[in-house]
Amino acid sequence: MTLGIKPLLRRLLEIIWGGLFGYAGYLKLLRPEEFAEAVAEYRLLPLALVGVAAAVLPWLEVAAGGFLAVGLKRRSCLLVIGFLTLIFLVVLFITAARGLKIDCGCGLFMGRTVGLGPILEDGLILLGAAGLYYWELVETTDKRQ
């Protein structure tokens, strides 16, 4: 049985993308109050919803990232990751435009200030997720024809 390089490469990228995203969510789960503080500092949500966002977002990251890494419902996970990253990007842009120099609350580098670094990182994640989704979709469509 010959294994194609392309499917292997795609799978490797999915494991990396999913693993990083899931790990970022896991770090937030370890310190839920710190993450809630970071969400509150953005001053975009009413306090009543800060608790909801702090409770839900990390689990979303862990689920989508984890399932992608182990290969379950990969395209759907990529859609969730893309959706979340797009929201994060919009929030980062708004916050940067408002001139707020706050901790971005990003899972991998908790002490980072909102600015070009987090925006570029999230942009890369979004592009990666979009690219992987398209690749998966094309592969699945080709197999079915």
């Binding site: 503080e37 306090l47 839900v56 689990w59 419902k73 759907s76 706050i102 901790d103 979709l137 469509t141």
Partner: protein, 166 residues
């Protein structure tokens, strides 16, 4: 392809709902506090406990206490933020000193300042720990009257207290 996309969206929705349900169940306390209006107080308490545990021995000040000390005009105010943030605006008369610079230069960074001088360190906001790290290092270097203004420059600026750009 459209059918696949619909399927993908359906499963994405399922992952969203499942994660949301799990998250709400696991962190119900945070959600409940948010709805009842007690979240800010709870987060402040948790932050203070975290700070006390991690930075034992560092005295902390609130906004009112800090302004009182500022008005007396004897304490040295130290801004622990990055130089570019300091340059934008800082507490009047404050010096800029980051932990990185302190680690590199040691006591040279505070040449001419006696160890007994009263110092108030601050950074951006209440969640920032840069000021605590600088205070911790200063104490290790022998400065024994070091305090940290926990509200940060954001609280100072919002109160309309004196600030400089130079």
């Amino acid at each position: 392809m459209r059918r696949l996309l619909r399927q993908d969206l359906a499963w994405a929705g399922f992952i969203l709902l499942m994660s949301a349900a799990f998250g709400l169940w696991q962190h119900w306390n945070l959600v409940r506090l948010g709805w009842s209006g007690g979240l800010t107080a709870h987060l402040e308490t948790v932050r203070e406990q975290r700070v006390q545990k991690e930075f034992q021995g560092v005295k902390t000040l609130n906004l009112a206490q800090t302004y009182k000390i500022f008005q007396k005009g004897q304490a040295l105010f130290i801004d622990a933020r990055k130089p570019e943030e300091y340059a934008e605006l800082h507490i009047s008369g404050a010096l800029n000193l980051t932990r990185e610079r302190l680690d590199k230069e040691g006591t040279k960074a505070l040449r001419g300042i006696p160890p007994g001088r009263e110092m108030v360190i601050y950074c951006g906001m209440s969640s920032c720990q840069a000021a605590l790290r600088v205070a911790e290092k200063l104490q290790l270097l022998g400065f024994n009257r070091v305090m940290v203004f926990m509200g940060g420059f954001q609280a100072w600026d919002e109160a309309g207290y004196p600030a400089d750009i130079n």
